[in-house]
Structures are given as structure tokens and as C-alpha cells.
């Protein structure tokens, strides 16, 4: 029973990751391997803010913003008048500069957990669109395969940057609510209830966003038919940027939820991300409900295998992808695989 509770809690976090992966893939065809890294960075940022240190993510954000600005200037160099280019560059760089200044100013003051959450979110969320602008927007027409290799490259770079900016030490944040109660034979911690509750709330609001708002529908439309989306005037680059923004926002939520439960290191993100990824694959990178169910399943499988064969739990989780991939690919085998 305890294992089940553990599994569901972990599964809820994997579900968030998986949903972000599905969202990004559907809109941009990018398999966002660095999503887990964003989660780890979120957790480490929060941990740094709690102790009043300046989080390394400030420098990471500034670096990404600088790269994005340079790319924006290069891309429009021959197309637009210099005035417009300068304006665009300013638009690209300004948010990062403002946020960085605010964090540098406020972080040492230790203004409490709410302010910390806000600062963490405003550091991590813009990384999504900056990442899209630098790594993926220039490759928008490339095949899924090329985008995947680029995503792996982005992950590699971000892992290294994580080490550079956060160091090799692991951190754990204090839980948002510190309480526990017993329910029959079971001890339920408030944090795990919070995890499940927050996940449900986020999934619900995503569902509403996609079904009720025009922007949400436009994102779905970009996913269903890219050319159709362009033909009704949806700018696909901005849709991609928005999808990355949402993924980064989901990463912040995941980070807030997972950081008190496990010690995070600069490279923990990848393993967490891959488990979300297993779930996303089971859901075929498309169906949200199936993905969420699969994520819970992965969480439970992990909890049980870490109990029975703890040394091999990762082996079991990753081995479980192969038959699923096989099933998926057999089902879609008749889409021509040629480039």
C-alpha cells in the first residue's frame, strides 16, 4: 500500500513531464529531452533562493537570452531596416535583463516562499521560448529525427551548464506544507497530497485551455495540420514559442512539487525526464489521458521494482519502453519512413 502511494505520487510528477512532452511534440515535432533538465534547474533555483544564495539560473537565462538576441539579429540582418532590428533585439533581450536584475536584487533578502516561487518561475519560464528560439526555430522545417538530435544536443549542453552554474552538490527544498495524517494503515503526507492535487488542477486547466480558448485551439490546430494553421494566419513560430513557454511553466510546477521529495542534482533531470518520456511514448506522443494513465503506471512500476530489485529499477523501467516502441512503430509502420 505504501508502495502504491509512493508510486502514484511519483507518477503524478511523471504525468506533468509527459504532458509537457506531448504538448511540445504536437506543436513543434520536437521531442523535448531537456524538459527534465528544466525541472532540475527549477528545483535547484528554488533551493538556492531558500538559502538566500543567487541561483545560477540567472546566468543561464542571461546566456540564453544573449544567444537568442544574436540569432534574431543575424536572421533579420538583410530583411529589415536597422531600426527594426534593434527594436526586435531589445524585445528579445529585455525580459531576461529585467528578471535577472530583479533576482539579483531580491534573492539575498530572503523574502519568503511566495516570493521565491515567483522568482523561480520568472527565471525558468522564459528559458522555454529562448531555448526554442536558439535551438529549434531555425530547424523548424527539419525532420523529427534532426529535431531529436538537436534536442539531445540541447540536453547535453544544459547538463554541462547545470554543473557550471549549480555545482555538483545535491539539494532538497523544505516541503511547502509539512504535515502528515494517518488513514487506516496508511500515513499520508501533505506533500504527496499536494502533488496529486496540483497535478490534477494543472491537467484540468490545460484541458480547459485547449478546449475553450482560441489560442488553445490554435495550438491544437498547429499540431493537427501545420499548413492548415498557416493558412488561417496562425504564425507557427509563435505557436512553437508558446508551446515551449508552457512546457517550461509545467517544468516549474513539477520542480516545486518534486524538490521537497527528492534530492536534486544538476543532472537528475534527465532520469526524471526519461520516465515522463516513457509515459509519453506509451501515450503515442499524442493522447493526453492515455499519457497520464501511463505515467501513473510508470510511477507504480518504479515503486515496486525499487522495492523488489532496487539495483535494477532503472533497467526495468527503460527496458519496458522497447516493447512499447515496437508496438507503436508497427502500428504506424505504413507511414513511409523515408526522408
Amino acid at each position: 500500500m505504501f508502495l502504491l502511494q509512493d508510486g502514484v505520487t511519483n507518477g503524478a510528477i511523471y504525468a506533468l513531464l509527459a504532458v509537457a512532452l506531448v504538448l511540445v511534440f504536437a506543436v513543434t515535432r520536437v521531442i523535448l529531452i531537456p524538459q527534465g533538465d528544466l525541472v532540475a534547474f527549477g528545483g535547484l533555483t528554488l533551493a538556492a533562493l531558500e538559502t538566500g544564495r543567487t541561483p545560477g539560473s540567472v546566468w543561464l537565462l542571461l546566456g540564453l537570452a544573449a544567444a537568442a538576441t544574436v540569432m534574431e539579429v543575424i536572421a533579420s540582418r538583410n530583411r529589415l531596416p536597422p531600426g527594426r532590428i534593434a527594436l526586435n533585439a531589445l524585445k528579445m533581450a529585455l525580459p531576461a535583463l529585467v528578471i535577472a536584475a530583479a533576482v539579483l536584487l531580491l534573492a539575498p533578502l530572503q523574502l519568503g516562499s511566495i516570493v521565491n516561487l515567483v522568482l523561480c518561475a520568472s527565471l525558468i519560464i522564459p528559458m522555454g521560448p529562448y531555448l526554442y528560439r536558439t535551438a529549434f526555430q531555425p530547424l523548424a522545417d527539419a525532420s523529427v529525427l534532426v529535431l531529436l538530435i538537436a534536442a539531445v544536443g540541447a540536453h547535453l549542453a544544459m547538463t554541462g551548464l547545470g554543473l557550471a552554474f549549480f555545482g555538483a552538490e545535491g539539494y532538497r527544498t523544505s516541503p511547502l506544507i509539512d504535515a502528515a495524517f494517518t488513514l487506516g494503515p496508511l500515513t499520508v503526507t501533505a506533500q504527496s497530497l499536494l502533488v496529486v492535487g496540483a497535478t490534477l488542477a494543472l491537467l484540468l486547466s490545460l484541458a480547459l485551455f485547449f478546449s475553450r480558448t482560441l489560442i488553445g485551439k490554435a495550438l491544437r490546430a498547429s499540431a493537427v495540420n501545420r499548413r492548415g494553421a498557416r493558412l488561417v494566419g496562425i504564425p507557427t513560430a509563435r505557436a512553437g514559442s508558446l508551446a515551449f513557454t508552457m512546457a517550461a511553466a509545467i517544468a516549474v510546477v513539477s520542480a516545486v512539487l518534486v524538490a521537497p521529495l527528492a534530492t536534486l542534482y544538476y543532472d537528475s533531470g534527465f532520469i526524471i525526464g526519461l520516465k515522463g518520456f516513457v509515459a509519453a511514448i506509451i501515450g503515442g506522443l499524442a493522447a493526453y489521458p492515455a499519457t497520464v494513465a501511463a505515467a501513473i503506471g510508470v510511477g507504480i512500476l518504479e515503486a515496486f521494482s525499487s522495492f523488489w530489485a532496487s539495483a535494477f529499477k532503472e533497467v526495468i523501467i527503460f527496458a519496458s519502453i522497447i516493447p512499447i516502441l515496437l508496438l507503436r512503430s508497427l502500428r504506424s509502420a505504413h507511414h513511409e519512413e523515408e526522408e
Partner: protein
């Protein structure tokens, strides 16, 4: 291997093997070169797998691990001699690759690289958790290689072994790529459907490359274990696997020497960065991955072909002019007269896609030695009908008979084996291969030589005949001047002619041509029409989809007209031209 390749390899070998003899080269450099050599082997496999075969793998490091751990266990726990473990290391890697490949190469599109990430992680954790192989600590105290009685301990000693292995692997790989099996592999990326229709077993070709690449990685692992004298799981994790892929991408996936260039750049950069980066950040760590990650993304954005092609362009004077090919001794021709008079019979063929009926109860016949035209407006179901006859699609209802045998339900490969050849509406040639090589793929089923024969060059007699056949067919379609050019450089009309030559290399009894005249100039059309008539004279039958009505009307014996997937008319060209239903189908009703 063509002479230009041989010359290039000889120069490369001389430079590489002379290097350690030079006294002023510091030992540290030699050590780096050993690492480059070992990495080159893995990258070479990846070039074949990813660049040539189109299968991206992030998991090659795991195969290096198989090679390294096998010899580590056998030499330390069982006291085997290192040389004896080489075949066992390769066998272990090969068996593992075969098992993984059986599952993995079936994966399509992006699922395949995802699968390699999954098993790459799996084996890393397995290596790190199995007590028998030392878990996280790995195995140390591996004995060095011996040459006669001399232990090869220093970098200078093992350098020679490593680079001989690299040179042999390059030679073998080049031979393989230029063999019958290799041409099948090279067609995987851009012409799998066409290769399958020429009788190439695409799935088997994929598995072969997969195992071949893994064996090179296993060999690298074996060398690594005896050079480092220790193995730890960290050397075989996913990040290292990504580095190997980066090497292949830098070199330019698809270029054999690019693998060595890529390995050199990555190994050297890693060395420099490992010294420089911690100084920037103030503490130790593997920061080189930042640069590698960024480099990978930038390469994809700026130059997806890697660096090698740019460098190789400077050496182009090395590649000689291809010798003319003697077409006297070709492949043996099959019998054209055996088949009964009624060659192809399509009986009530129906194809549904979901609710849409693309082909509806269509029946027609192609008698032996006839040219039958299949015409109709856009979306009438002509290409679908072609795909039904050639097994690319299965019929929903109805039957297709060929030479008295029922062939619906057979795969394209089985249909090719019955000597039915085809061309494609959207040309499917491997653009990077020469016209001659593309056409030679058509003769795949008429050769026997296997992978090993290709690597060891035991296939020369057969290769000569295959190329003589290919050159002969190229002359027939009038492309002899373009024979040695890359297929991708030809104009569309010429590419269509090359497809016809490839189809003829199959020695077909029935030839299916999908819009062969599109993009041809008037004179070329006349020449093509003359060729098709000559083929009919030789006993071949032809089924032809074409939009150029002059071409169809002057060439065919009968015409079948489709509209909305249904046959609306059938008869001699003159009748069809007067048929009101046909005119209406083409011009529309004046509603």
C-alpha cells in the same frame, strides 16, 4: 574498391603509420591518437548506420561496453590470453547486437533513436549494477596485449595495433559499400521502397548494418580495455554514446573519412576543453559537453552535411576518371517465352482507405508482348492500381494473377522475384549514388555475393557482370554520358530514364512504368517510345501510366481509362479518343 579510393587509403595509411616513428612526436600526442583511433572505429560504424543506412543510434557506447567487458572478464577472472578473447568479444557484441537489432531496426522513424536511448540507458545501469563485472567500480588489472613475447604496454606500442585495425576497417567498409549488399544498404535512406521493389530485403539489410556497426564498436571496446587496462561503466554511458554520434555528424554522416575527422575533432576538443573549461568555471567537471551540445545544434542548423564534404572537395583531383565499362559479358538473361499468353490479369480489384474507395472493382488484362496504357484524371486511382499490382499495397477485394499464379498478398520483394519491374511516379533514386550504382541495384536479385564476400572482395567476377549489365541498360535508355554522375544531379526526365534502366536490370517479363515521359523533351520522348517498342519486340509486356496523350496514343495496343477509381472505358487508342465518357472525364461537364 575503385582505384581512387585505394590511392587515398594508401596515402592515409602511410601518414598514419609513419607518425609514431617520428621521434619528435611527444608520447602524449600518441596517446591522443590512440584514443582517436579507437573512437574512429565506433564513428565509422555510426557513419554506416546513420549516415548511409539512415538509422540514428545514441547507444553505440553500450556495444563498446560489451566488447570491453567481455575481454575484461575473460582475462581477469579466467586468465585467458587477450588475443584469444578478441573473437569472443566480437561474438558477444555481435549476438547482443543481433538480439537488440531484431527488435530495434523494426522501429520506424524517430522511434528508432528513442529505442537506442532506452537500451543505452538500460545497459549503462546494468553494467553499473552487476556485481560480477565490478558494478560501479568496474574491472581493473586487465593484462596488456602481447606481440610474440613483447607486452604492448606503451601508447606507441598499441598505437600500431589500433591504427591497423582502423585501416583494415576502412578498407573493409569501403569494399562493403561498393558491393552488392552495400548498394542495398546505401539505398535504405532514400529509396527503401525502390530497393524493396528491386528485390532487396530491406529489413535484412538494416539488420546487417546494425550488427556491422556494433561489431566495429565491440572491436573498439576490446582495444580500449587492453589500452586502459581497466573498464568502468562511466565510459559507456549515454553521454559518450551522444559524443560518438557527434563525431559522425561532424565528419558528415555518410563519409567514411569523415568518421576519422569527427573522432579527431571531438577527442582533441575534449582534451583541450577538459583543461580549459574548469579554469573558466573554477572547479572540475566535464564541461566539454556544453560545447559539444552547442556544436551539435549549430552543425544541424548551419551545415547538416558536416565538415568532411567541404574538406574532401579540395582533394577531388585525387579521384580519377572512371574507366569505360565493357558490356560484352553481362548477367545471364531469363527466358521470355515461358510465360503464357495472358500475362497479367487484374480481377475485380478494390482498394479502400478507411471510407474512401480509391480503386473500385477494376478488371483488366495485359497479354504477353502488349503495351497497355492506364489513363485517367488526377486522383482516378492509377498509381493505387500500380501499387496493388506490385504489392506495395494489398487489395481489399479481388484478385491479381500473373503468369497463371495468384500474386495479390505477395510482398514487393516476392513480386520482383517473379520478374515484375516498375518505376515510380515520384522518382526514387538514391541521390548520392552514381547512376551506374543506382541502376545496378536493379540487378540485386541476379547476384549472389554476400556481405563477407563484399568486405573481402571475393565478388569481383560477379560485380563485373552486374556492372556490365547496368552499363548496357544505361546505354539502352541513352544515359551513357551521365553514367558516373550522381543520380541527384540529373534533370527529372533523366532520373526517370535511370529508373527505367534500373527496372530493366531486373530482367523483367512485365514492366510497369509510372509517367515515364513526364519531364522529357520531344526528342527524348521519341527515343523512349522507340525503346519501349523494342522491348515489346523482345517479348516484354508493358503497363504504362502516362499523362502525355500523344505518347500514350502512339505507343499502346490497348488503353484502360479510370475515373473515380472505376474503369469507365477500355479499348484501342482510336476508340478511346472518340469516347464521350473519356472526354467528359478529362474536360469535365459544362455543368
Amino acid at each position: 574498391m575503385p582505384t581512387s579510393d585505394l590511392k587515398r587509403l594508401a596515402i592515409f595509411a602511410a601518414v598514419v603509420l609513419a607518425l609514431p616513428l617520428l621521434p619528435f612526436v611527444p608520447s602524449f600526442w600518441i596517446t591522443l591518437f590512440v584514443f582517436i583511433g579507437i573512437a574512429s572505429l565506433v564513428a565509422l560504424g555510426l557513419v554506416l548506420l546513420t549516415g548511409v543506412g539512415g538509422m540514428t543510434s545514441f547507444g553505440q557506447a553500450a556495444f563498446v561496453g560489451f566488447g570491453a567487458y567481455t575481454t575484461a572478464v575473460l582475462t581477469t577472472s579466467f586468465g585467458w590470453s587477450p588475443w584469444l578473447t578478441l573473437p569472443v568479444s566480437l561474438a558477444t557484441t555481435g549476438v547482443a547486437a543481433l538480439a537488440i537489432g531484431l527488435v530495434t531496426v523494426r522501429l520506424s522513424g524517430h522511434y528508432l533513436p528513442l529505442g537506442t536511448i532506452a537500451w543505452g540507458m538500460c545497459f549503462y545501469y546494468l553494467f553499473g549494477n552487476l556485481q560480477v563485472i565490478g558494478a560501479h567500480d568496474g574491472i581493473s588489472g586487465i593484462p596488456p596485449l602481447h606481440f610474440i613475447d613483447q607486452p604492448l604496454t606503451g601508447a606507441r606500442a598499441i598505437y600500431v595495433v589500433v591504427w591497423i585495425a582502423v585501416l583494415l576497417s576502412i578498407a573493409g567498409t569501403l569494399n562493403l559499400l561498393n558491393s552488392r549488399v552495400g548498394r542495398g544498404i546505401r539505398a535504405l535512406r532514400s529509396g527503401a521502397t525502390a530497393a524493396e521493389s528491386s528485390g532487396v530485403n530491406v529489413w535484412r539489410a538494416k539488420l546487417l548494418v546494425f550488427v556491422y556497426a556494433a561489431l566495429l564498436a565491440g572491436l573498439a571496446g576490446w582495444l580500449y580495455a587492453h589500452f586502459q587496462r581497466a573498464t568502468t561503466p562511466g565510459a559507456f554511458n549515454l553521454n559518450i554514446g551522444i559524443e560518438y554520434l557527434l563525431m559522425a555528424v561532424i565528419g558528415g554522416a555518410g563519409h567514411v573519412y569523415g568518421a576519422i575527422l569527427g573522432a579527431a575533432i571531438v577527442v582533441l576538443a575534449k582534451n583541450v576543453l577538459q583543461d580549459a573549461m574548469p579554469m573558466i568555471f573554477g572547479f572540475a567537471g566535464n564541461y566539454e559537453i556544453i560545447v559539444f551540445g552547442v556544436l551539435l545544434i549549430l552543425l544541424l542548423q548551419v551545415s547538416r552535411d558536416g565538415f568532411w564534404p567541404a574538406i574532401a572537395g579540395r582533394f577531388s583531383r585525387l579521384s580519377g576518371v572512371a574507366a569505360p565499362i565493357d558490356t560484352t559479358y553481362r548477367l545471364a538473361k531469363g527466358d521470355m517465352t515461358l510465360s503464357p499468353d495472358l500475362l497479367l490479369a487484374v480481377k475485380g480489384a478494390t482498394k479502400r482507405f478507411g471510407g474512401l474507395v480509391a480503386v473500385n472493382d477494376v478488371s483488366f488484362k495485359v497479354p504477353r508482348g502488349h503495351i497497355v496504357g492506364l489513363i485517367g484524371p488526377n486522383g482516378a486511382g492509377k498509381s493505387t492500381t500500380f501499387n496493388l499490382v506490385t504489392g506495395v499495397l494489398g487489395v481489399s477485394e479481388g484478385e491479381i494473377h500473373f503468369a497463371g499464379e495468384r500474386i495479390d498478398g505477395l510482398t514487393p520483394r516476392q513480386i520482383a522475384a517473379r520478374r515484375i519491374a516498375r518505376t515510380f511516379q515520384h522518382v526514387k533514386l538514391a541521390p548520392g549514388m552514381s547512376v551506374l550504382e543506382n541502376v545496378a541495384i536493379g540487378a540485386h536479385k541476379r547476384g549472389r555475393a554476400g556481405m563477407l564476400a563484399g568486405i573481402l572482395k571475393l565478388d569481383r567476377a560477379e560485380e563485373r557482370r552486374i556492372f556490365a549489365e547496368a552499363a548496357f541498360q544505361i546505354e539502352r535508355v541513352g544515359l551513357q554520358a551521365e553514367m558516373h554522375r550522381k543520380a541527384g544531379e540529373l534533370a527529372l526526365g533523366q532520373q526517370r530514364l535511370a529508373e527505367i534502366a534500373r527496372a530493366l536490370c531486373l530482367d523483367p517479363v512485365l514492366l510497369l512504368l509510372d509517367e515515364p515521359a513526364a519531364g522529357l523533351r520531344h526528342m527524348e520522348k521519341q527515343a523512349l517510345a522507340a525503346l519501349i517498342r523494342r522491348l515489346r519486340y523482345e517479348g516484354m509486356s508493358v503497363l504504362l501510366v502516362e499523362h502525355d496523350m500523344d505518347f500514350v496514343m502512339q505507343l499502346t495496343d490497348e488503353i484502360v481509362v479510370l475515373d473515380f477509381g472505376t474503369k469507365i472505358a477500355e479499348g484501342a487508342p482510336a476508340e478511346i479518343r472518340r469516347n464521350e465518357a473519356v472526354i467528359e472525364a478529362y474536360l469535365g461537364t459544362a455543368a
